[in-house]
């Protein structure tokens, strides 16, 4: 039976949420192709949450344990995934910092076709067709992968994690021999909130309308009220040095698809709109009722953000029962 290899990610010994989305996407492909899903777990020891992989559609869970795999090992991971994926019909990654680094290496090792950052996968005539935002989200490209293995990465929050009970039989697998030339020596925690704008279910973003960097405190308070929110920023304020570049939403920053995107004091330049228009619900708060951001917003509030934000933070807290 052909296999679909789902490449999962863990951090600090816990399976990352996006990996359930990867396994779910692999399951959908496998059902269309009459294939099995093998979930690949790369770690230095046991990974908590790996038992959920079966519940989300993995027939087998291939556990590769190696002392170097406590952190990401580009050379070791690429060698392992290529080894396990060489006969597969498809290999599915998450389009995360790790997946974006790893998928092209594996594609080059296997001489395989690659479609990155897909937001939708389908099977047409036995071949995988990936829909992927290009030009920073200004257009959607559909590409067909003509040969096996077809390598795809899916953008976080775009393919839902879906329950599909399969055996999820755990099978230990040895890592192939590799030379680790690239070494991750440490991870510095981000200075700002731990949630990343590309992954958070709620993103509250600020622009020039906040007038000065200190006023982002208002957005951090709102993000804290939501509890599951990251703070994003427009290109203008990142280029001005108010916020870290990692927070930038737009064509030269991150393209995000959260459940809720709140744009505060952001007029809505075309390259910003491209990066957030796939959010499920968009709220815009701006003093200029003609700002382009209102054209993509589901709900708009016109007015002074310095009056609106504290009230919104308080009401969100109340609504969430804090």
């Amino acid at each position: 039976m052909p296999t679909i290899l789902a490449v999962t990610e863990q951090r600090d010994g816990a399976l990352r949420k996006v990996s359930l989305e990867v396994v779910s996407a692999a399951r959908t492909l496998a059902d269309a192709l009459g294939a099995e899903v093998h979930a690949l777990v790369l770690a230095s020891g046991a990974v908590s949450g790996a038992e959920q992989l079966g519940a989300h559609g993995a027939d087998k869970v291939l556990a590769v344990t190696h002392a170097d795999f406590a952190r990401y090992s580009p050379d070791g991971f690429a060698a392992t995934v290529a080894e396990q994926g060489k006969g597969a019909a498809a290999i599915v990654f998450a389009a995360t910092a790790t997946g974006r680094d790893l998928a092209p290496r594996v594609a080059a090792k296997l001489g395989a076709g690659l479609a990155t950052d897909a937001t939708e996968l389908a099977v047409d005539g036995g071949k995988i067709v990936a829909t992927r935002p290009v030009y920073g989200g200004k257009a959607l490209q559909k590409v067909r992968l003509e040969a096996a293995p077809a390598i795809v990465s899916i953008r976080p929050n775009t393919v839902p994690a879906t329950a599909s009970a399969k055996a999820g039989v755990m099978e230990p697998v040895a890592a192939p021999a590799f030379t680790a030339r690239v070494t991750v020596t440490g991870i510095k925690a981000a200075a700002s909130a731990a949630l990343d704008v590309a992954e958070a279910p709620v993103v509250v973003s600020g622009g020039r309308g906040l007038r000065e960097p200190e006023q982002f405190k208002l957005l951090e308070d709102l993000a804290a009220a939501f509890g599951n929110a990251a703070v994003g920023a427009s290109r203008a304020v990142v280029d001005a040095g108010w916020r870290e570049h990692g927070a930038q939403v737009g064509q030269t920053g991150k393209t995000v698809s959260p459940n809720l995107y709140v744009a505060v004091g952001i007029s809505g330049a075309i390259q910003h709109l491209a990066g957030m228009r796939t959010a499920r619900t968009i709220v815009a708060i701006n003093r200029d009722k003609d700002a382009p951001i209102f054209k993509v917003a589901d709900y708009g509030v016109v007015g002074d953000l310095f009056e609106i934000l504290p009230r919104l933070t308080a009401e969100v807290k109340t609504a969430r029962g804090d």
């Binding site: 580009p74 050379d75 995360t96 910092a97 974006r100 680094d101 092209p104 290496r105 594609a107 001489g111 076709g113 690659l114 990155t116 950052d117 992927r132 935002p133 290009v134 030009y135 200004k138 257009a139 959607l140 490209q141 559909k142 590409v143 067909r144 003509e146 040969a147 030339r181 690239v182 070494t183 440490g186 991870i187 981000a190 731990a194 949630l195 990343d196 590309a198 570049h245 990692g246 930038q248 737009g250 030269t252 459940n259 809720l260 075309i270 390259q271 228009r277 796939t278 619900t281 968009i282 209102f294 917003a297 589901d298 709900y299 509030v301 016109v302 007015g303 009401e315 969100v316 969430r320």
Partner: protein, 249 residues
Amino acid sequence: MKIAVCLKRVPDTTAKIAIAAGGAGIDEAGLKFVPNPYDEFALEEALKLKEAAGAGETVVYSLGGDAVQETLRTALAMGMDRAVHLQGTGSADPLEVARALAAELAGGGYDLILFGKLAVDDYNHAVGPMVAEILGLPCITAISALTIAGGTASAEREVEGGLEQVTCPLPAVLTCDKGLNSPRLPSLKGIMAAKKKPLDVKPAAVTAGRVSVVGLTLPPERKAGRIVGEGADAVPELVRLLRDEAKVL
């Protein structure tokens, strides 16, 4: 220090995109093209590293039609020493682009080969690490800080919720993210000098590969939203809508 930078010519990020007849590509008529913004970080880093080393050579490569020569001249005006135009068409398969570039870069004796972390047109994040695999070189992607010392590159790259600190020996391939530096603008003197710098044209063979574009469409328009109200008094209604209608609270 001998450094190569691979550069792509892309539509300006402030430009609106229209779909060409045939529905698989964009309408390039009247579109302004610029150097890929992430590649500008690679160019700036190459220039800074050469300046710090006090010696070396910086070479910029671009694959595409004749129009890429204008983009290469911009890189020369920023200060790159020479340019190579690989004449050919691109491919939807990043591996084919990587193979064409790698064939040219192999044997170049480069200490570093730099790319942008992605091209803002096709968003692949792929050609840099693929070139590294083909050439058998170590690779660090999406770096936002870099130190070179004693034949080792030490870099930082953004991961979800933090910064990975990564090292590898040279020669290496690095792909550059925002935050690495502030790219310089070409000076008038640089623009004049660029006209006299060498720009070699070589044919590049790019085959179609394993990826076919079957369609390009504009994203669906979002349905018209509504203005909930004005000022802080609109907030309770907004929160009610988020809770009861959008169900995101």
